[in-house]
């Protein structure tokens, strides 16, 4: 039986989730609190802390850090974080072990709890199943030299970025650079692709680090 502490601001959700987890027979909720009252959890010594950040905005990372300090021996799972990919790295960096999204099932949640107790990291599936994420993971695990080169912008792409920055439309950029509008669009597509890959490579590097 895995002991779980639950930090959740919404009282109904908090009690409901605690009841559901207890009912699975795989976890026991040993303490619950709202994010402002984590002092209530002292002395509960949970194996896993579930932290709902769904209602938080700017300081969710700080809360995660505090929870890590307060419970250095517990694994932390962040729930309901808005799936902004870029944030995941920071949460992993402050020591969060798992992520669970709003549309996850109770089974997903219990399986995630089980996995982090076993020492695994659980990234949200939206993060790990995309083509770019798989490509990034593979590049990092192969220790591929020059993976970062593939996300470096060309001089032409940088020129287009500069003109976008000035507020020119694709058509105006085409006229200015004496190229076709579809070529401008290609450049913009490639810039987006490189930015997205850049982010995935960094996430993959973090995930790889603790394997």
């Amino acid at each position: 039986m895995i002991s779980v502490a639950l930090i959740e601001d919404n009282r109904l959700v908090r009690e409901g989730l605690a009841a559901l987890l207890d009912k699975t027979g795989r976890c026991k909720v040993v303490a619950t609190a709202a994010s402002g009252d984590t002092a209530l959890l002292r002395g509960s010594d949970p194996q896993v802390v579930l932290l709902d950040l769904g209602l938080q905005n700017g300081d969710s990372l700080r809360i995660a850090e505090e929870v890590r300090r307060e419970f250095p021996d517990a694994k932390v799972i962040v729930m309901d974080l808005l799936p902004v990919h870029e944030d995941i790295v920071e949460f992993v960096n402050v020591g969060v072990s798992g992520f669970i999204m709003k549309d996850a099932t109770l089974d997903d949640l219990v399986n995630t709890i089980q996995s982090v107790v076993e020492g695994k990291h659980v990234l949200p599936p939206q993060m790990t199943s995309t083509l770019f994420s798989q490509i990034a993971r593979e590049a990092v695990s192969r220790g591929r030299e020059g993976a970062m080169d593939a996300v470096r912008m060309t001089p032409r792409e940088r020129e287009v970025i500069g003109l976008i920055g000035e507020g020119l439309s694709n058509k105006e950029i085409a006229t200015r650079l004496i190229i076709a509008t579809h070529t401008v669009k290609s450049h913009v597509r490639n810039v987006m692709e490189k930015l997205a890959l850049h982010t995935r490579l960094q996430i993959a590097a973090f995930a790889h680090r603790d394997e």
Binding site: V84, E86, F132, M148, I161, S169, R189, K194
Partner: protein, 206 residues
């Protein structure tokens, strides 16, 4: 054992190209016959290798991906084309379909979605991108009309901070290095990158 689908990949980003090739070759029913970085001189190669499916990056450098699709449809009519795009604009989808494309996938789709698209297209089906209608982006663009109003262009203009950040990304710096250089929190750098992506996606719909 299902029959093997021969796939030809045209993608200019080496990381994406190698990655797709590795992922596809790991499938028992898919084999990559060639993976090249541009559409130059590719038609004779396609005629020779006779792939069932060609994956074409919609953002092929200075090459016009649409004429390439037309060329494939004309010179290798048995071969189906799937256009890969980071974020398909409805207007572009129509033009690619007219040029002879059978399928369309968002490049940041899941690997399973890519494989499903390849298998469907190889068996003669058409695969259109998930509808854009209803997305926030399409609503904003709709609202702005076909010709973007000046305030829309303003909304997608990059701020000076965003331009500095994208310059450093362009140099290949990590988010952490950028944060140190600009005296910003790493989270701020990441949020700039996020906004830049949104703005670029938005403007590419015009």
């Amino acid at each position: 054992m299902p029959p093997v689908i021969l796939v030809f990949v045209i993608e200019d980003n080496p990381l994406v190209r190698d990655g797709i090739m590795t992922l596809l070759n790991a499938q028992p029913d898919v084999r990559v016959v060639a993976a090249v970085d541009s559409g130059d001189a590719v038609l004779p190669q396609i005629q020779k290798t006779k792939p069932q499916v060609v994956l074409v990056d919609a953002g092929l450098g200075d090459h016009d991906s649409k004429s390439l699709v037309e060329g494939i449809a004309e010179r290798a009519p048995e071969t189906k084309v799937i256009v890969m795009d980071f974020l398909p604009a409805e207007q572009d989808v129509v033009e690619f379909v007219k040029a002879g494309a059978s399928g369309f996938i968002v490049k940041d789709a899941t690997t399973d979605e890519l494989l499903a698209a390849i298998r469907s297209v190889a068996s003669g089906a058409k695969v259109l991108p998930p509808a854009l209608t209803g997305t926030l982006l399409s609503k904003i663009v709709e609202h702005a009309g076909t010709h973007p109003a000046p305030e829309v262009i303003d909304a997608v203009r990059l701020t000076p901070h965003e331009r500095e950040v994208i310059e450093l990304v362009a140099e290949g710096r990590s988010d952490k290095e950028i944060a140190e250089r600009q005296h910003l929190a790493v989270s701020t750098v990441k949020s700039h990158v996020h906004h830049i992506l949104l703005k670029l996606a938005l403007r590419n719909q015009f």
